[in-house]
């Protein structure tokens, strides 16, 4: 579904992503692992069109490289960025509205908001509150719901469990498997390698901008590199 080859991201002189290639099959959950600064966010941001990159990105057979973020989301790829980044002074309702406003209108838009409120009942309770007043977990739910408002076929999730309490982390991973079971394809970036590998079909390990290892979830769990670097046993 998504094919990335030779992707490079440069910030001035710093090359953050040094030619990585990966593929995400339809209906799968693929995880990107790696230490801080390995280039995981840069990779997702480049796919979503937020940062300029070289290399080739194709989605459902169409070339995406070089398109701006505004157009890529229209093709069916939504990114939930690292750090949630909800609009703090806007209400939950307004955040959701903006998530869908470029993709639907009128009753369809209302229907999508209603569907997200069904999925995340807590957002219904907080509907008229400012997003900045929500807890970290609630903000993460809002950020994901807002991404889903575009009705994407591929969801890019950048560290959705970062800084959340264990109970909420469970919820996030339940949500990820649930979304996949409803037909969504997911490319996930996670620090929580153990949990991420449990839910994912395939994983890539990044080190200073390069893929150093890849394999299925169980393969990676057994690999020495992943054991040493990212798993806590």
């Amino acid at each position: 579904m998504l094919e990335v080859s030779g992707l490079k991201v440069k910030y001035g002189e710093v090359e953050a992503v040094k030619g990585i290639s990966l593929s995400v099959p339809r209906g799968s959950i693929v995880v990107l692992l790696g230490a801080n600064g390995a280039g995981k966010s840069s990779t997702l941001n480049a796919i979503a069109g937020l940062v300029p990159a070289t290399g080739k990105v194709t989605f459902e057979g169409e070339l995406l490289s070089g398109q701006p973020a505004e157009d890529i989301v229209r093709r069916g790829i939504s990114l939930t960025p690292e750090g949630r980044r909800v609009f703090p002074s806007l209400t939950v309702a307004e955040n959701l509205h903006l998530g869908g406003a470029a993709h639907a209108a009128g009753e369809v838009l209302k229907g999508r908001i209603e569907a997200e409120l069904e999925r995340f009942p807590i957002l219904r309770e907080r509907y008229h509150q400012k997003a900045g007043l929500l807890s970290g977990g609630e903000q993460q739910m809002l950020a994901i719901a807002r991404s889903l408002m575009a009705a994407p076929r591929l969801l890019l999730l950048d560290e959705p469990s970062l800084g959340l309490a264990p109970l909420i982390v469970d919820k996030v991973f339940d949500l990820i498997t649930d979304l996949r079971s409803k037909g969504l394809t997911i490319l996930l970036v996670e620090q929580n390698a153990e949990r991420a590998l449990e839910v994912s079909d395939h994983g890539f390990v990044l080190q200073s901008g390069q893929v150093v290892l890849q394999g299925t979830g169980p393969e990676l769990v057994r690999s020495d590199l992943v054991k040493q670097a990212y798993l806590s046993e």
Binding site: L50, F87, H97, A102, A150
Partner: protein
């Protein structure tokens, strides 16, 4: 009593003009980090729009509409042809661009129209006052206050109720994420400029209603003051701009009214001195803008 009320009316109507201008500056600044020094020229454009509409004997309401439409069009044109090509520039680059736009427009007015001021005749009905029994209120200040209130109300509705308005508020907080939602950056920025143009047009009408003429430098002083107002309020904060505008208007009228005769030429120095005190007390302004993240 009469004089005191009169001063309050003056302060509110003057403050309202500053508030509208400061809002125009803030709307643009909050989204593109540009302090648009060409904002004053938008006022001037509005003034000439009004002047020409009256010169070709269009009815007065059309002249008012022409002022607002001219200012809005000028704001959109400067965005499209001056600021958009400089989008990647830093704050200094944008600031210099706005100086250039302002200078070019001023030269155009001076050479293309006239360096001297042109009278903008107002309908006679506007020159009177309404007798409230205990108190006379001038029609111009009264309309000025009503217009400011209506404009603020309309802008609030726009920002709260419409998708573009919400997008503008979101853009001020996190433009990149807004683009991730598929909302076009260019569209939101253009709308911000259009809004600032409309506000400049309305302010120009109110300004001209008080002085009855337009000249190439007309916008300079009020926009300088609006900039001060925006800083008092908290640069980039919309409610701050309104608060700062009224605060400045009130300060000016107070000092004008209560400074001794000999000190009156130094009124602006007193006002600015007071502004400095406000900023020592609240360095980020009366109502600081939320910290936004930009790429």
């Amino acid at each position: 009593m009469d004089i005191f009320l009169q001063q309050i009316i003056n302060a509110i109507s003057l403050g309202g003009i500053y508030a509208l201008l400061a809002l125009g500056l803030a709307v643009v600044f909050s989204i593109v980090s540009l302090i648009n020094f060409a904002h004053g020229e938008l006022m001037t454009v509005a003034g000439y729009g009004m002047f020409f509409a009256i010169a070709v004997s269009l009815p007065f309401p059309f002249a008012l509409a022409a002022a607002v439409i001219f200012a809005c069009a000028a704001a959109l044109l400067t965005e499209r042809f001056a600021f958009r090509p400089m989008r990647k520039a830093d704050m200094t680059g944008l600031l210099l661009t706005s100086f250039a736009v302002s200078a070019i427009l001023r030269v155009l007015f001076q050479n293309g129209i006239s360096a001297r001021s042109k009278a903008v005749p107002l309908p006679a009905e506007l020159s009177g006052a309404i007798d409230l029994g205990f108190f006379h209120i001038g029609i111009v200040p009264l309309l000025s206050i009503v217009t400011t209130a209506l404009s603020l109300w309309a802008l609030t509705l726009f920002l709260r109720r419409t998708t573009l308005g919400k997008a503008m508020r979101a853009a001020a907080e996190d433009f990149q994420v807004l683009r991730l939602m598929g909302i076009k950056a260019n569209r939101v920025i253009a709308v911000a400029f259009a809004v600032s143009g409309v506000l400049a047009g309305v302010a120009a009408v109110l300004w001209i209603a008080q002085r009855g003429s337009v000249d190439p430098l007309m916008g300079f002083v009020p926009v300088l003051k609006a900039f001060v107002a925006a800083v008092i309020g908290g640069l980039g904060s919309l409610s701050g701009a309104v608060a700062g505008g009224f605060a400045l208007g009130i300060l000016e009228v107070l000092f004008q009214a209560f400074l001794p005769e000999a000190a009156l030429p130094f009124r602006d120095a007193f006002v600015l001195g007071f502004v400095i005190l406000i900023l020592i007390w609240r360095p980020d302004g009366l109502i600081p803008a939320p910290v936004s993240r930009r790429s």
